[in-house]
Amino acid sequence: MLQTRDECSGNTVLLNIEDLWKSYGETVGVAGLFMKVNSGSIHGLIGPNGAGKTTTVKCVVGLLKPDRGRIMVMGMDVKSGEGFKRLIGYLPEAPSLPDYLTPREFLGYVARIRGVEPGEETRRRVQEFLSMFELNDCENRFILELSKGLKQRLALATVFIHQPKLIIMDEPFIGLDPEGQRLVKSLVRDIVSKGGAALVCTHMLDMAERFCTNATIIHKGRSIAEGSIDGLKKIAGLESSGTLEEAFFRIVGGTEGGTL
């Protein structure tokens, strides 16, 4: 794997994946993936369709069991217990929500099962996030009746409601309007500035370039380059005026003729 010099070596590693393997029958999802996410960074996981981004993320949050490899979240082994789950916020690629609940009920429910203090604290946070994500108008309608964008906002609200340290989001900005995107970005930056970190899967490279500080490029289940955005450009032999997109194509194309 191509690696840039670790510029923020003083920071702690919040997520460390070593030699992750996962296959579905004959199809290989992830084949020997290594990556590190440091505190204080917004880490992009970028790669073409079918590269293994979603599989990796699902292994991290415990929705899939890896065939091989080790995943450490804040020093805790994912296999050895569920304690780490209190510290993560997760948004799946296509979140489906319980249709029969109202946004208010759902947010309260998620807050409680993720360990927010009962009573006033939960009520306050639910209210806060409902108004923050502009869900006040529909807080008492069934989720079934919400539009896709509103559902995405609600799903995003559940990511932040318990104040996690590590945010893991799979294609978070699909179906979200610019205002919502700005809100999510500011929430993420807020957590990162307090020593947390975020892992964002995406194949929208221009967004990744502006939003992320670091990135790992994966291709066919393997990580092929990791580092800061500028570092990746350097690896690809580009000036800092070059784009991440160019760097991506050079790096992916360098290993073999991959296309996005």
Binding site: G25, R86, P98, R112, I113
Partner: protein, 827 residues
């Protein structure tokens, strides 16, 4: 042009629904299994009901009643589908077909065809076999009943579409009200029978009754015209409906068939649950556990699961309560009927689980990424299912108790309700966790979600059921019995819930895609080329040598049978020539196989004990299913069926599930152990083991017959398979050698014993498969001999490197020896 479009859409729908892409092998396999079980059980419920009526001819009124109940339920099905949307659109169709420039009428006709096919596939074989039993001995009515039934199905799909289209363009509430009124009218006579008013279908001018009368050839002139008016009315309204220009608001009916999704414009269903909703509304002070329970209760209330479950449950219960009236066993049975209705309670949690599998399962990421989230969720689900099922079933029975005018609800009834509710709730949750997502709400895979809780709960509640139906203790059970039953129930429930919670731990670990078995398994030591010539030689050697010995019987001077004297010499000559020839050729090929004999490899087959057990159960069912047409034929025509035909059909049917399973999973058939190498050595071993086998079998048979005297009817049954003449002896021997022995050995040794051995080790493998081999004969007099002989066969099978030739030879010679003994001694 339009016709080809209709056909295209129809084929697309078929491929979508039944196509190869949707299902894994195990789902397809269990589909076939359950299909057979459904056919089989409807057949037997027919027999059960006939048991009450008596097997002589039924009166015209009774027949009309039964047939019109069946027809009415077919219409009810149509109305139900209509209320749910009526158009069986699958999700991809809504996005692609309905947005394409296909005329709505074209699409509707294609959908009608699909519904007709779908309903036929699902309900025709069970219903027709049920009808055949009910009509017996007037089977000459069967063609017209079948024809009318098909007309009924078509009308029912038509009604479904009419209601569906009306619902999509008119206001929901009006169409729904109309639908419910129709349903109520349809079930009114059944309800009146249940509460003892005694209005019969045959008195009323329902279309189903009239059609039933038509099919039974008892339709009056006036009634004919009324029936015609009905049909013309339905068809003309269908044509009116077809003229619409576009179909708005189509929902994926097959997915949401068992749900009523909440929506703001559905007030009719909203007011009732609102009361509960207010109690259940999650408040922010709750402990997570209480919250999860509340959420699950809210789910079954709001997504309509509880409502649908209650409807189906009510219909099942009404049908059950009207049963005593229908079969003319009045009040006496009312109490028992109530008791048995309790056994339908598992329908409620089963439907919760189907809807959980279809919708809720996708939303579990929220709980899965919380600490201890999913385990707590499953616990909450268990509690919620129990609360919902128990309280609603209790309310329901109280209502019925009042309607039945005071039949007492006994302590044991309560206990039975409690245990059935408890077991079925836990089993429903476990089923949902273990099985794959049902492909849709009306699929056969969803039926598994009903079967497991239903039969599981009934089976586990057996002690309570027995106590309840034992008249001497039902009214005032001794405290000791109550105590025992309560502790039994709580122990089993505790163990089951432990199991379910353990399943919750591995729920998310699984890969979402099942591991495909693309590479065929090959048994390593058998990868040489198959030589079909050798199969022929092996069988020829075996058959000719045994038949040669049999032909010697004809030479006995004491033989009184003229056939023996006439046929024995030519048979002896023929068999000795064949034997000599086949031994000669065997010698030639046997040399090539030298050196790779008998590797004592451990048993290593790609199936396990559970598969063996499943296949065994089907293999025991299937012969009965396939033989019944023959039996009905012989019963109705008075012609006796050749016992050889029955024997062959039964034995071959037994092998079908094994072959289907192995071919479906692409497992090489060589795993069964029937390889194509020379079998001479095997036959020698069999010859050595023969005396021991015969001695064991015969003496065990004698011991058991002295212990339990053989009843008359059984002897008669056995007589069917003992030869009365020399030709029959030869025929039976031939069938034994070429069909019975290979089939039974391939099943019990090749498949079942190897499956058990690979899971449980050799000793248990042999013993268990022998027990099943004994039990397979379904009577105590053959059990012990078959069990002991089975052990010998199993041992020999293992010792000869899991090759079948030796056990086949041994089995065949043993059976033929018995036949010869029967023939010579006349026993």
């Amino acid at each position: 042009m339009e016709h080809s479009r209709i056909l295209q859409i129809f084929v697309f729908k078929l491929l979508q629904y039944y196509g190869p892409l949707r299902r894994s092998f195990s789902v397809k396999f269990s589909t076939i299994v359950f299909y057979f079980i459904i056919v089989f059980s409807s057949f037997f419920s027919g027999f059960f009901i006939r048991g009450f009526y008596g097997f002589s001819e039924m009166s015209e009124k009774e027949l009309t009643n039964i047939v019109s109940i069946t027809f009415s339920s077919v219409i009810a099905m149509g109305v139900f589908l209509g209320l749910k949307g009526g158009i069986t659109a699958l999700e991809p169709e809504i996005d692609f077909v309905l947005t394409s420039p296909v005329k709505p009428s074209t699409y509707l006709v294609a959908d009608l065809l699909f519904q007709f096919f779908f309903l036929n596939f699902a309900v025709t074989p069970p219903l027709v076999s049920f009808m055949a039993v009910m009509l017996h001995p007037r089977l000459d009515f069967l063609p017209t009943v079948f024809l009318s039934y098909e007309i009924m199905l078509l009308l029912s799909s038509t009604i479904a579409q009419i209601l569906g289209v009306l619902k999509s363009i008119l206001k929901n509430v009006e169409v729904e009200a109309a639908g419910w009124v129709i349903l109520l009218i349809l079930f009114m006579p059944l309800l009146s029978m249940a509460i003892g008013l005694g209005v019969n279908y045959s008195d009323l001018p329902y279309p189903s009754t009239l059609l039933a009368k038509y099919s039974l050839d008892s339709l009056g002139n006036l009634e004919t015209s009324v029936l015609l008016v009905y049909i013309v009315l339905i068809i003309s309204s269908y044509f009116a409906v077809m003229r619409i220009n576009f179909i708005p608001n189509v929902t994926p009916l097959l997915t949401t068939a068992l749900m009523e999704m909440p929506s703001s414009n559905r007030r009719i269903l909203k007011w009732a649950p609102r009361m509960f909703t207010q109690i259940l509304s999650p408040n922010m002070n709750e402990k997570p556990m209480a919250l999860v329970v509340k959420l699950n209760l809210l789910r079954v209330l709001r997504d309509g699961s509880l409502f649908t479950a209650m409807m189906l449950f009510a219909i099942a219960t009404i049908a059950n309560l009207s049963f005593p009236v229908l079969v003319r066993q009045f009040r006496f049975f009312a109490l028992a009927a109530l008791t048995f209705s309790i056994l339908y309670t598992p329908l409620i949690p089963a439907i919760f689980s189907i809807n959980w599998g279809i919708m809720e399962r996708e939303t579990l990421w929220t709980v899965a990424v919380s600490e201890k989230g999913f385990r707590r969720y499953v616990k909450g689900m268990l509690i919620a299912y129990f609360i919902a099922t128990f309280s609603f079933a209790l309310i329901f029975y109280s209502i019925f108790n009042i309607l039945l005018a005071g039949t007492p609800f006994l302590v044991l009834d309560f206990l039975l309700l409690l245990s059935v509710t408890l077991f079925s709730s836990i089993l429903s949750v476990a089923t949902a966790l273990v099985l794959n997502k049902p492909s849709n709400a009306l699929s056969l895979s969803a039926l598994l979600y009903v079967f497991i809780p239903l039969f599981g709960a009934v089976f586990l509640s057996m002690p309570t059921i027995i106590a309840r139906t034992t008249i001497s203790i039902a009214d005032t059970p001794p405290p000791m019995i109550i105590f025992t039953l309560v502790s039994y129930t709580s122990l089993i429930a505790f163990l089951l819930s432990k199991y379910t919670l353990a399943k919750s731990e591995t729920f998310f670990g699984r890969a979402p895609v099942e591991r495909p078995l693309t590479k065929p398994f090959l048994k390593p030591q058998m990868q040489h080329r198959t030589n079909y010539w050798n199969y022929l030689l092996n069988f020829l050697t075996l058959a000719s040598s045994i038949l040669m010995v049999v032909s010697l019987i004809g030479f006995f001077p004491s033989q009184s049978d003229w056939e023996g004297k006439a046929y024995a010499p030519p048979l002896a000559v023929l068999t000795s020539i064949v034997l000599a020839a086949s031994i000669f050729f065997q010698r030639k090929t046997a040399k090539q196989d030298d050196g790779e004999f008998l590797q004592q490899a451990p048993c290593n087959v790609p199936w396990k004990a559970s598969q063996s057990l499943l296949i065994l159960i089907i293999a025991m069912f299937l012969p009965a299913v396939l033989e019944t047409p023959f039996l009905i034929f012989s019963l109705s025509t008075g012609m006796s069926i050749d016992n050889l035909t029955l024997l062959i059909v039964g034995e071959v049917a037994m092998m079908i599930p094994v072959l289907l399973y192995m071919v479906g999973r692409k497992i090489s058939l060589s795993f069964l152990g029937l390889d194509s190498r020379s079998a001479m050595q095997e036959y020698k071993t069999a010859l050595l083991a023969l005396p021991l086998t015969v001695l064991t079998g015969v003496s065990a048979g004698m011991i058991i017959e002295t212990l339990i005297p053989v009843p008359q009817w059984f002897e008669g049954l056995f007589q069917m398979f003992s030869p009365s003449s020399f030709t029959e002896l030869v025929k039976l021997s031939l069938v034994t050698i070429l069909i019975v022995a290979p089939c039974e050995e391939a099943l019990f040794r090749g498949f079942i014993q190897q499956g058990f051995e690979s899971s449980l080790g050799s000793r248990w493998g042999i013993v268990l498969s022998s027990i099943f081999f004994g039990a397979f004969h379904l009577n105590p007099w053959q059990f012990l001999p078959a069990f002991l002989v089975g052990i010998i066969l199993g041992y020999v099978f293992r010792k000869r490197g899991y090759r079948l030739w030796c056990p086949i030879a041994l089995h065949a010679t043993y059976n033929v020896t018995l036949l010869v003994l029967n023939y010579v001694l006349g026993v």
